[in-house]
């Protein structure tokens, strides 16, 4: 099985770290197996003497980590879970029931799905927006990253490191700084519209255009808000669900693909370098075409990298926040709202922390479910493990 947690333990550095993250997300309780490599490498030696002091030193060495991650990560999640069951407004102690804070049970969660109102409207719109966003960003950035990696991996290529650097550079810059640049590029008087004008195309007003791309396509074939699309799902008409990303959201999609492809390209390059040359040559001798080779030789062999890139893509895209914050805060007409941004706005803008926290936990769940589903789909039939399992690993 081409699974991430079978990567060798001497994976140094970030993709190793990311792989760990992926393994942890998609494997549920990461006990046993996860801890095993280290244990195997350093077999238990007899205690006492030199080794005897290691117990105390070990705990001392990990103490700062445990304190910081405990205080600023684990415990706060518990606090937020509590707040998501209350109607806390930010102006009292959220943990003292009665003085301005009441326990409302699951209301913050049910309001997102079952109660007609602004909260549900916004939340469902943000889910719809982000669904299209993920649907476009993940495949396109994966394909672009793979394409760039294949181009750069050509052994005869001159100036390889120049191209690699050029493609990778956007990935290391601040998301806020890049979003600022794109705000200018796509502004009404910006470079993109100036470029389109060279070909006689009158570019749209990107950031104020709330028309959905799928709606535009429907309109082009003469369909506009037809009767068959009037049924409501979670308070939104089917027609609204079918809008596709708005023109404004399209800019953000474009931006994110542009910035993240470089990182994923590096992962593919690393995977491609691992391919044994003999296989390449055998495929060439057999007279396979380039496309056949890619489809039947290269892709299957870099499946672990593909798995990693898609999983990281899904995890990252569902959390889109920075770009939304800078590029319109949900405008126009809520078509760039993402659940992460809405959760922030609900808490820090409307002071409805309980509702905001509930949204965050729902997104968390969506990410966990999707990464598992994706893992299930990409795993070969024979190696599949149950999609969901109660309890830990054996």
């Amino acid at each position: 099985m081409a699974s991430i947690d079978e990567r060798p333990p001497d994976d140094v550095t970030a993709s190793g770290a990311r792989a760990g993250q992926v393994a942890a997300v998609s494997a549920g309780t990461p006990t046993g197996q996860a801890g095993a490599p280290g244990a195997r490498r350093a077999p238990r030696r007899n205690r006492g003497g030199l080794r005897g002091r290691e117990g105390a030193a070990g705990w001392l060495f990990v103490a700062p980590m445990i304190v910081i991650l405990g205080v600023f990560l684990v415990i706060p999640i518990g606090m937020a879970l509590w707040v998501s069951f209350t109607n806390w407004q930010g102006n009292s102690n959220p943990f003292q029931v009665g003085q301005g804070t009441d326990v409302v049970g699951l209301k913050n969660y049910t309001d997102l799905f079952a109660r007609d109102g602004l909260t549900r409207d916004n939340f469902m719109q943000s889910i719809g927006n982000t669904f299209y966003y993920v649907l476009l960003v993940v495949p396109l950035q994966t394909a672009l990253a793979l394409g760039l990696a294949l181009l750069v991996s050509n052994t005869m290529l001159k100036g390889r490191s120049f191209f690699r650097t050029a493609f990778y550079f956007p990935s290391v810059t601040s998301s806020i700084a890049i979003a600022t640049v794109f705000l200018f590029l796509f502004s009404n008087t910006g470079a993109v519209n100036a470029f389109l004008a060279l070909f006689g195309i009158d570019g749209p007003q990107w950031f104020t255009d709330s028309r959905g791309l799928l709606h535009l396509a429907f309109n082009a074939v003469g369909v506009d808000n037809p009767s068959w699309a009037q049924g409501e799902i979670f308070g939104r008409t089917l027609w609204d669900w079918l809008s596709g990303p708005s023109v404004a959201m399209f800019v953000i999609i474009f931006l994110v693909i542009w910035t993240t492809s470089g990182t994923f390209m590096l992962m593919f390059i690393a995977a491609l370098q691992d391919l044994p040359v003999e296989i390449d040559e055998a495929a060439a001798l057999d007279g396979t075409s380039r496309w056949q080779k890619l489809r039947h030789v290269t892709l299957p062999m870099i499946k672990p990298a593909l798995f990693l890139v898609i999983t990281l893509g899904i995890i990252g895209t569902w959390q889109v926040f920075d770009q939304i914050y800078v590029m319109g805060k949900g405008q126009p007409d809520g078509t760039t709202l993402s659940p992460a941004f809405l959760s922030y706005q609900q808490s820090f803008g409307n002071f409805r922390y309980g509702s905001g926290a509930a949204m965050a936990f729902v997104v968390f769940l969506i990410i966990v479910v999707l990464t598992r589903l994706q893992r299930y789909v990409l795993t070969d039939k024979d190696d599949r493990k149950p999609l969901f399992r109660l309890g830990g690993r054996k």
């Binding site: 550095t13 046993g32 117990g55 601040s174 806020i176 640049v181 502004s187 370098q273 922030y344 965050a360």
Partner: protein, 286 residues
């Protein structure tokens, strides 16, 4: 490889494709640089041009506080960015390698449980942490302080994981010798192990610097957003999203964005191979 004897047309097409992509990825940065030397009307009228006409350094004078206009306090932002980034990076590199070493080498009861917990923590998506961080910072009474900006960032689970994986890959014999000679555990770690871990430490330093310099959402939720505790990135975000001043001010925004890009860019071009290792040495070795 056999297909290397491909015909010249294909080679030309390959380079054309590569060049097109290179322009695609680099041109926005070139526009950014030139626009920061343009006047507002020039930026709006000639958005594609790489040559400012007329050339003006007004934006940069304003950024460095030479114009007496303090509505966009970039110098304060820069100062905050450096304070926070340097403290976080130094602390993170030390604490991450300390914990990574213990998890890799030291035998202590509960080690596997700690490592499993670490992996679980790494799996938590950042989006689920905004409100939690705010709640804890508020609870501790450190809202809108440097402490709140720095303390939660000084250990990161991914960094600990990187260091643990690194130490797992290094042979244990040299440290054993030091230990046999009677050096204490910390002394061995500090004088023998860390010097050997230089490549991993550089990688971790880069990741920490880049991460905390570019950090946005954490600072957004633990501070009020007054210049006093704004970094270059959060300050830029308030400038860009139109909270400061009127008009489009694109040259000013792009200049500030450029300033926010420069430190990481310098680091990137100086230590490129470590960046690439940072993005994934694992795959290369695997």
């Amino acid at each position: 490889m056999i297909e290397r004897r491909s015909n010249p047309v294909k080679t030309i097409l390959l380079y054309a494709a590569l060049l097109a992509f290179a322009v695609f990825f680099i041109y926005p940065f070139l526009i950014q640089i030139s626009t920061s030397f343009k006047t507002d009307p020039d930026a709006a009228n000639n958005p594609l041009s790489l040559v400012p006409n007329p050339v003006t350094t007004q934006v940069w004078q304003r950024i460095f506080g030479q114009t007496g206009d303090s509505s966009v306090p970039v110098t304060t932002w820069v100062q905050n960015s450096f304070i926070v980034t340097l403290v976080v990076t130094a602390a993170r590199v030390f604490l991450d390698s300390l914990a990574g070493y213990a998890l890799s080498r030291l035998q202590f009861r509960g080690r596997n449980a700690v490592f499993a917990a670490l992996l679980a923590v790494m799996a938590v998506p950042g989006v689920a942490l905004l409100i939690p961080k705010f709640l804890m910072v508020n609870y501790l009474g450190i809202y809108d302080t440097y402490t709140a900006m720095i303390l939660p960032l000084i250990v990161d689970a991914a960094g600990v994981f990187i260091m643990k994986q690194f130490f797992d890959s290094v042979p244990v014999s040299i440290e054993e010798a030091a230990r046999m000679d009677g050096a204490s555990i910390f002394r061995t770690f500090w004088s023998v192990v860390l010097p050997m871990a230089k490549p991993a430490l550089i990688t971790l330093t880069i990741l920490s610097f880049q991460g905390s310099w570019n950090e946005f959402s954490h600072f957004l939720v633990v501070t009020k957003g007054t210049p006093e505790h704004q970094t270059l990135v959060t300050g830029l975000a308030s400038l860009t999203s139109g909270q400061l001043g009127s008009g489009t001010q694109y040259p000013l925004k792009l200049g500030t964005a450029l300033l926010a890009t420069i430190p990481v860019a310098v680091l990137f071009f100086a230590l490129q191979r470590y960046f690439i290792r940072g993005a994934n040495e694992g795959g290369v070795k695997g």
